[in-house]
């Protein structure tokens, strides 16, 4: 049981939850307005690559983070245009975005930085400890030497929940995802609201990628997201398309990864432990959360009535 009282386990849990929670909340924004978004993986890669690139070019990790987010937002705008304006199949489109982003970032890494990888003197986002909180036993580990993006993520979780469920714009966005015809009849601009949802989602997903490349590290590597965009998809569904739920699910996945690392030191097979997050996913989805219901108009393109 000494494993569970090791503060590092809890610090790792939170650190590994961030790159899942941000894209999961990003996906929530998109799907709540009625656009199925499986492109988080690709958008994260864009954020991760351009985050490092802009940080290197501008010598500022913060400008890098903003640049990475904007490039992720740009790609999601393209996705939104094809999904909303052209009414293309959103799953096919999302997959195309993922493959495109993987190819593009690899190509750019090789051509811009060469085969030696991104330069080691790229700046990194700072890590912070929250003075009062970091001394509380147990919980303190959450707030000790964490990347600044961890705290930003915590704020964004609350902010997103408030925005989606307690503001007028949030209500309108959800209305468009449930019944676009009714929303249209009531005078809402369905397309514009959907663009908003998808692009906010893209910015958040890209920030998840920025966390991987500039929050934990200061370098980009080919496919460094390692399927986290897809796990985020599971976290979003598991969290019943809400920011708080997505965050909770991400914490659970983060915990499984952290536990896997900690248990290995105690001589349990690495291969078995590698399955832990996925076993937890199946168990949780099968028994714990009950039925997860997507927004009614999720994935259905809408043509405005004239």
């Amino acid at each position: 049981m000494s494993i569970l009282t090791n503060p590092q386990l809890w610090a790792s849990t939170l650190a590994m939850a961030v790159p899942l929670a941000l894209p999961a909340i990003g996906g929530t924004f998109s799907e709540r307005t009625g656009v199925v978004n499986i492109a988080m993986e690709g958008i994260m890669l864009m954020g991760a690559f351009f985050g490092v690139s802009f940080a290197y070019w501008t010598h500022s990790a913060w400008l890098g983070a903003i640049g990475g987010m904007l490039m992720g937002g740009l790609l999601s705008a393209v996705f939104a245009w094809a999904a909303i304006r052209l009414a293309a199949d959103q799953v096919v489109l999302g997959m195309a975005i993922n493959i495109f982003a993987a190819g593009l970032t690899t190509f750019l890494l090789d051509t811009v930085f060469g085969y030696g990888g991104t330069p080691p003197d790229t700046p990194q986002l700072p890590t912070w400890s929250i003075p009062g909180l970091s001394h509380i036993p147990f919980v303190g580990a959450f707030f000790t030497n964490q990347s600044v993006l961890v705290y930003i993520m915590l704020i964004l979780v609350g902010l997103s929940h408030w925005f989606l469920f307690h503001t007028r714009l949030g209500l309108r966005m959800r209305a468009v995802g449930e019944n676009p015809l009714a929303a249209d009849t009531a005078g809402l601009n369905v397309w514009r609201l959907r663009y908003t949802g998808v692009i906010i989602g893209g910015l958040l997903s890209a920030l998840g990628g920025v966390y991987l490349s500039l929050g934990i590290l200061n370098s980009f590597d080919v496919n460094m997201t390692n399927g986290r965009g897809y796990i985020a998809l599971a976290a979003m569904i598991f969290g019943k398309w809400t920011p708080l739920g997505s965050f909770g699910a991400s914490l659970l996945f983060g915990f499984a990864t952290a536990l896997g690392i900690a248990l290995q030191g105690n001589g349990i097979s690495a291969n078995l432990l590698g399955m832990l997050p996925y076993v937890l996913t199946i168990l949780a989805l099968a028994g714990l959360v009950g039925r997860s219901k997507p927004p009614a108009a999720d994935g259905i393109p809408y043509t405005p009535q004239r």
């Binding site: 190509f107 090789d110 934990i216 590290l217 690392i261 690495a270």
Partner: protein, 347 residues
Amino acid sequence: MKKHLAATIAAAITLGTLVAGCGNTGTNSAGNTTGAASKTNFKVGLVTDTGGLNDHGFNYLADQGLVQAEKQLGVTGSVVQSQDANSYVPNLQRFASQGYNLVIAVGFLMEDAVKQVAPQYPNTKFLIIDDPITGISNVTSAMFKTEQCGYLVGAMAGLLEKQNKLPGLNSQNILGVVGGQNIPPVTSYIAGFQQGVQKTDPGAKVEVTFANSFSDQALGSQIAQQEISDGADILFQVAGGTGIGVINAAKSKHVYAIGVDADQAYLAKDTVLTSATKGVDTATFDVIQQAVNNQWKSGIQYFDLKNNGVGLGSINANVPSDVKQQVDALAQQIKDGTITVSANMQQ
């Protein structure tokens, strides 16, 4: 009508990206081909495994060896990066059928592909890195005794841990290892490391963790932080891209790291003590030279400390000279056979 159009466009976009994804291979290879003034008109093709040229490891180093051969021997080189395991055979065949004199397959993952393709093209010579193939006359295998350089970095880590003089080392006698996967090219390094530590600091505990990934830097960073919180203050990474995260974590927690495959001091010069290097570049160059000079040897060629096939990277300025001398002495004993290092890891 509109819907139909949209579907067509979506299909076109998907197809476009797929084609672009494959085309990537071609442009990369073209970019890498430097047409050096070739007197011999000797053509060398290099096929990477799925790790690609930016793997911080053997693909990268093999390419470096080829670039060196282009400059010094005047051969014409071309590189193709394999996008997935199914493209190994066609990629090898492509070079062989175009009359390349030597085709280099990087990595043990390509064993079956080489065994299949080499007999079909008896006039083409094949080199495979990291995998022992015997009995095919046009195939040579480059094998690396990485347990030997693992032993040396282990011995150095043990000595430093015992002296406990480097700033930042704690009083606990614990060393950390992060492996990419539990497979022979990784575990041979770790086996050597364990024996080296055992030799110079028998009381030390070596904590080994596998990431099950060679490309997950974030995970590597978390594993490193776990080991550091357990008391490890020198971390040896044998994990490719994942290991970049290990070195980064060691740097931010002000402990030490040991690099692998290439000299990784450039990543963090105060953090990296040294690197256990694997001379895939020298081996690739040597075999190209053998082929050019008609000194072809089929079967397995070993690269070890004695022929500089493995070794140590640049050593951190803070490492005391008596430690360096003791490590040098051990290297000498391995070379003359007084010490033999096993490649089998203690689980």
